[in-house]
Symmetry: C2
């Protein structure tokens, strides 16, 4: 079998058409997902039940025929494994405690992914069996800065407060990042060993940093994870929301794929990244709230703006919104698959 | 008397040192403000009582000796005057109704600033008398896109939803922007007539737009306001949070001053704006949560990065945080005032 489009594009090759997948593609916008979620009980129960997590992961492949299946999980599982138990209520995630001072670091343990995150790699393993090589399995993890932001805040981050601690206590923050980076790299390597052939590091909150702090507290810790993972021969994407000011630093991490949000123009991203990395993105998820005609028009405009079929993976610029009509997600995927440059 | 530093810098001149003021400088971090706020009753009562609003405006001049006094008010007063009554609770602002469909436009009236927003210009008038030319009085208004986002959401904007409506109904959104722009321009002109010698347009939420939508739905409506205001001979600053992807478009609005947040490097901003506009910003407000030594160090680094004393106004990259120690605000202002390039 030919190598999958997703992997070829990630390596910077020219593909007959761009591969396409959607961040948070196995999510609440799918009625079938909501059923699986009910069967599982809580969101965390679903993450921790590999058979059901794999089932949820497969839905967007079956329903939308995307070019990659990402394992159903959550970026916070690494913190949970490190001794910061997580829970979810209506207002979002909660951590049982925070890590805000040097002395709080002593309470952290190693994530030990082969043991404590075995449920994630088991879901990847089932998924890889199910897709039987027809499409790549995508693994993922939260990036060190973003996870540190949750650890400091104890839930949905107050980013002003997080940066305040980072400025006041840079050495502590650096230690926290190193501890987290180790767990993150370990998890990604386990996912790859279980069958993931593409992985993505999500740095959702790093775009809130000034450029110099981004280099030190987001890009450098991400680069250490990326260096670890690349030894396994699998391409890795680095996603940042609010990527525009940081795209050169993102490309310098060694990531194979620079994954961007919608606030940067594709041609600008291409010019600034050059041939250092492939690009992934970046349709505004809010476009999928408009009628399918608008979705098709703006998707085509995006494909043209990325300028061709070389080293490019179509995606949204952030996770698909829960209120998205499935028909709009389908219009997005079909427009990419039917596109001729 | 020599013309004020703030006005000279806004016109792109070289000043002996950069002028400095702070967005939201008359805010909750000042104990004296909290006292005035209690006397007034609600936040809106304070906005609508010119004598007290002027008193609040003067506090940062008396306490921190900033180089400009911005009138105490709120960006939402224009919507209130247009027939969308506002209120505030713990979770933020609420509008009595939303404007989400073409037919909702019929319910809007003209803001009629000389009559319905007389309380703002009256506060400016008192303020101008009090400072007696010793320091410029700064007027302000919310920019059209940001106010439209509140009008659509009926309170703190759900920006995904706002962009969804913008994509689905661009003509409606454009009409809403035109209606708002008229009220905004009218308010700024009233403020200038009452004695403001510098004005700022706050486009807090426009950074969430893709670059092409930013041009059409943020920069162009802002440019129409700016064109109106510039005829009065007073410099105008255009502030966007998340300015990095949009800075060329900001410079193209005709604003005298491009006011930026902390996610863009000063040298990058300078290179991209060139001599088209002066720059204002951009210390991360979270730096002021760190000890004064850190504040001084990062303020000096910012001043150096902006590269000199030409066409530059020191400020934070967004409003000062309520949890900021007054000593840190003082360290910021004093570092700018004592700086020698």
């Amino acid at each position: 079998m030919d190598e999958a489009l997703l992997l070829r594009a990630a390596r910077g090759e020219t593909t007959p058409r761009p591969p396409v997948w959607i961040m948070r593609q196995a999510g609440r916008y799918l009625p079938e997902y909501r059923k699986i979620r009910e069967m599982a009980g809580s969101f965390l129960d679903l993450c921790r039940t590999p058979r059901l997590a794999a089932e949820a992961s497969l839905l967007p492949w079956r329903i939308l025929d995307v070019d990659g299946v990402i394992v159903f999980s959550d970026i916070l599982v690494v913190l949970d494994a490190m001794g910061l138990p997580i829970s979810f209520d209506e207002s979002g995630p909660r951590l049982a405690r925070t890590v805000r001072r040097p002395e709080d670091l002593a309470g952290l343990r190693d994530a030990d992914p082969p043991r404590r995150l075995a449920y994630v790699s088991e879901a990847v393993r089932i998924l890889a069996e199910e897709v039987a090589g027809k499409v790549p399995v995508i693994g993922f993890a939260g990036a060190p800065f973003t996870l540190a932001a949750y650890a400091v805040s104890g839930g949905s981050p107050d980013l002003d407060e997080v940066r305040g601690i980072l400025y006041a206590e840079p050495a502590f923050f650096g230690d926290l990042l190193s501890r987290i980076a180790e767990g993150v790299a370990g998890l990604l390597c386990e996912e790859i060993a279980a069958g993931a052939s593409y992985v993505q590091l999500f740095d959702t909150w790093a775009g809130s940093l000034p450029p110099d702090a981004f280099v030190r507290f987001a890009a450098e810790p991400a680069a250490s994870v990326i260096a670890c993972v690349r030894r396994m021969g699998v391409p890795i994407a680095y996603f940042v929301r609010g990527a525009a000011p940081h795209i050169e630093a993102m490309a310098s991490t060694g990531a194979d794929v620079v994954a961007i949000d919608w606030t940067i123009a594709p041609a600008d991203a291409r010019a600034r990244v050059g041939i250092r990395a492939a690009l992934q993105g970046n349709l505004d998820p809010a476009v999928l709230l408009a009628p399918p005609g608008v979705v098709r028009e703006r998707t085509r405009a995006m494909l043209e703006a990325f300028g061709g079929r070389r080293g490019y993976i179509a995606n949204l610029g952030h996770g698909i919104l829960a209120s998205t009509p499935v028909e709009s997600a389908r219009a997005f995927v079909e427009t990419v698959k039917g596109w001729e440059a």
